[in-house]
Amino acid sequence: MGIIRNLGLLFLAFAFVGCNATRVVKPLDKGEKQLAAGFGGPGIIYTGAPIPVPLTSVSYAHGLDTGLTLSAGLHTTSAAFGVIQSDIAVGISAFQSKSEKFGVTVTPAINFLYDFYENNGRTYPQLDALSWWQYGEKDHLLYGGVGTWIELRKRKAHEQVQNNEVLPWITVGHQFNMEKWSYMTEFKYLGFQHETDLSVVDYVSPGGRGTIGFYFGISRSFGK
């Protein structure tokens, strides 16, 4: 059939909700705060062209200690449709080179979703592991890594068995840093184990599996 049949089905791509730009690539300094906004989502083919689903989110992060950052996000597009979706994460510096130019951040997180129509709630644990490389005078960041949502439910609708226990992704991104502002561009290959060639949504899906997500983020730091 080749195209998304109508606008409503486009929004079914909301369902790839695991997706927002990485909240914190490198943990903040102790006491540092960061406000961020993100735009983007899974890639879909719409009227013949690949576009990211226009999902938006806002987040706040706080450097609790050296190498330990707490962040919380709210998905504003979901909220506009009556679904509260939020995430709380703790970014932990798992490794940092002596030169401080290279490091690994591990981020356990939890995602909550709740709709006010039928009071349906869902909880999805999440785990990210990112390597980052700092370069240039402004300490721009190149980063890449893996992550996953974890499906806790064993059954799907109509009592069918849930075979997807994880929704994994591979992340590659860049963070361009200014004095206070940062600009992030990120790609994710989402759900690469999940067949999407027969999905109702025409995802940008290499080999008929998963989808490529495109994300943009902007953030401002305080108290640095």
């Binding site: 369902a15 679904v83 509260i84 129509y117 799907k156 069918q160 929704l167 027969l198 999905s199």
Partner: protein, 295 residues
């Protein structure tokens, strides 16, 4: 404490946008039905051997849900109206696209089941589709199909001579009104490319067990409703359906049927809208006729 004010602000920002109205893919822009003269896109094309004589094509209109959300809906009857009191009639519930003209070749095909005009065929445009009034809604769709049953009953049709056929989204009213009959109890249920529920759509798209209520208020649930159907059930589905997957939707509906008789036709190479064509029209019509006329 001042920061607490942001909590209700955030909650207030959660508006009541829903996707329901977007989910109906109706085209109400036509001024009249073209049928054989329609030059727009159609689901499938059929040859002149399936044409129906003009004298046996009747455009009709009726009031739907007159005691509630009353709307005038339009339909077409293929056959001799005067013979409805004795004929068997297939009530066709079309899919989620445009209007009757888009599905006209399919309607004509059904008028060739068994033989030309062996059975009467009634097909309607749900509210919001084609010339039928009003916005498209799930409940309106049920009311509109029931209105057709009321018209058929008025013309003398009885339950044992009513067969209901639902294609794609039309599987919703077909299943609903067979499982929970209103005006009439169809004697047989035929579903082509039925969907199980909006929840399965969401699960297929996400790979996660997300509720359908995150996206829509529609409560279509053929996957569970089919359990209530006792009447004989015919299911046909394209194996390569990339809109309503056979594995997650069709097999669920078929597997949950617990009635008296069922048969499945899984069509290799069939996509969502072309299954009769891929199967071959003669084979498709023969399969339908065998099901209806089985001892």
């Amino acid at each position: 404490m001042k920061k607490l004010i942001y909590i209700p602000l955030i909650l207030l920002s959660c508006s009541c946008l829903r996707l329901d109205s977007f989910l109906f893919n109706a085209d109400p822009s036509i001024e009249s039905y073209g049928l054989d003269d329609y030059e727009g896109t159609v689901e499938i094309e059929v040859g002149p051997e399936y044409d129906i004589a003009d004298s046996l094509i009747h455009l009709i209109s009726m009031q739907s849900d007159p005691s509630g959300d009353n709307k005038k809906i339009h339909a077409v009857y293929l056959g001799n109206v005067a013979n409805i009191a004795t004929d068997t009639v297939i009530l066709y519930c079309h899919g989620n696209r445009d209007h009757l003209d888009f599905y006209w070749p399919r309607v004509k095909l059904l008028a060739n089941v068994g033989a030309k005009n062996r059975y009467g065929v009634l097909a309607m445009d749900y509210r919001g589709f084609g010339l039928s009034e009003g916005p498209s809604t799930e409940e309106g769709m049920y009311a509109d199909v029931d209105a057709c049953m009321r018209w058929l009953k008025l013309m003398g049709l009885t339950d044992e001579r009513l067969i209901i056929y639902g294609f794609s989204v039309g599987s919703a009213p077909a299943t609903k009104l067979t499982a929970e009959p209103r005006t009439m109890q169809p004697a047989m249920l035929m579903l082509e490319a039925p969907f199980a529920s909006e929840e399965v759509f969401v699960e297929d798209a996400s790979g996660l067990s997300l509720p359908g209520s995150y996206f829509t208020s529609l409560e279509i649930n053929n996957g569970d409703l089919i359990r209530k159907v006792e009447e004989p059930f015919f299911w046909i589905h394209g194996v390569d359906d990339d809109y309503i997957q056979i594995k997650t939707h069709g097999e669920t509906v078929f597997g949950n049927y617990e009635g008296t008789y069922s048969e499945a036709h899984r069509i290799e190479g069939g996509n969502h809208g072309d299954t009769p064509y891929i199967m071959g029209y003669p084979e498709y019509l023969t399969a339908l006729a065998k099901f209806i006329e089985r001892p």
